[in-house]
């Protein structure tokens, strides 16, 4: 399942990440669904990515205002108070330079256009799976 360097050795009492990185990778997951946040955070953490997960755009902005920074921010395209494009636009306005990825099970074409126009970099399909996020993490780790 794991691509790149995989570490299968498990230290007693602690779970060793499934991958190791040259850099300390940090991810922020913005998703209205708590089930998706729990699973997504567990996945990314198991692959050695320090991950925060929040429910909406405002919570993401609060983290950024408090000085947090991330290599990648994965944004649910369909949230209550603001959608993925609105969240991306505000993050760019705040000066955030992280990779911004829109996430959904499916996309309407206009939603994709709006997200990219708002400063988004691309998309990742829900449900999250290593085959989808590992190549992105490898690219970020090499830059």
């Amino acid at each position: 399942m794991a691509l790149g360097s995989a570490n299968g050795n498990r230290a007693e009492g602690a779970t060793t990440p499934l991958m190791s990185w040259k850099n300390n990778l940090r991810a922020l997951l913005v998703d209205a669904s708590s089930t998706c946040r729990i699973i997504g955070k567990a996945y990314l953490t198991s692959y050695g990515v320090e991950t925060e997960a929040v429910e909406n755009g405002e919570a993401a902005f609060d983290l950024i205002y408090m000085g947090a920074s991330f290599n990648v921010i994965i944004i649910d395209m369909h949230m209550r108070e603001m959608n993925g494009a609105q969240c991306a636009r505000r993050l760019r306005t705040m000066g955030v330079q992280s990779r911004l990825l829109g996430m959904s099970t499916s996309y309407r074409e206009h939603e994709q256009h709006e997200f990219l126009a708002a400063g988004g970099n691309g998309f990742i399909q829900k449900p999250l799976h290593p085959s989808k996020f590992v190549p992105i993490l490898q690219e970020l780790d090499n830059n």
Binding site: G13, A14, T15, D31, A32, S33, S34, T35, C36, I38, I39, G40, A42, Y43, S46, D76, M77, H78, M79, R80, S104, T105, S106, K126, P127, L128, H129
Partner: protein, 165 residues
């Protein structure tokens, strides 16, 4: 019931759900793989969260559809939320039912949306019962596995670790 028996029961239940078509076994297996010594109750926690979230979403969807002037944009968001959660956990029939609901919402068709929501609710009830059984089995397995072993390899008697369901 001994540990191997419980694990076998759990495995058979998941397999039967996959055969019935209500669970994507591969997707659910990925969730199970995330359970580890740092996160020993992960599966129970996720399933409980899914069920709580689904009930909240279904209640919300019903509320929106009962309004005289239906706010389809709000319906869209709640339906997407349910669709995403269903996909993440591998709840296949629920996922398909929410796809149909979203089609009806896209067309702003109240009658079809109500019909689709009934199907979503039916599929939720169907899977929720089985998820509760999985949670019970997972908790029993956790109880046995978390008991310290005596020198002869048998589990110690005494209170098991308590945890919230």
């Amino acid at each position: 019931m001994v540990l191997p028996g419980l694990k076998q029961q759990l495995e058979h239940l998941i397999q039967s759900m996959a055969i019935e078509g209500i669970l994507v076994e591969q997707q659910f297996a990925q969730v199970q793989e995330l359970q580890n010594p740092d996160n020993p109750n992960f599966v129970s926690r996720v399933l409980n969260d899914f069920c709580n979230g689904a009930e909240t979403s279904i209640t919300e969807l019903n509320k929106f559809l009962c309004q005289e002037q239906v706010e389809f944009n709000k319906l869209d968001i709640s339906a997407h939320l349910l669709k995403g959660s269903s996909a993440s956990i591998g709840a296949h029939q629920m996922f398909l039912a929410t796809v149909e609901l979203l089609k009806a919402v896209d067309k702003e068709d109240k009658e079809k949306s109500l019909e689709a929501l009934k199907k979503v609710t039916h599929e939720y009830i169907r899977i929720q019962y089985k998820f509760q059984t999985i949670i019970q089995l997972e908790n029993k397995i956790f109880d046995i596995e978390s008991k310290p072993l005596l020198h002869d390899g048998k589990s110690a008697a005494g209170p098991s670790y308590s945890k919230n369901i």
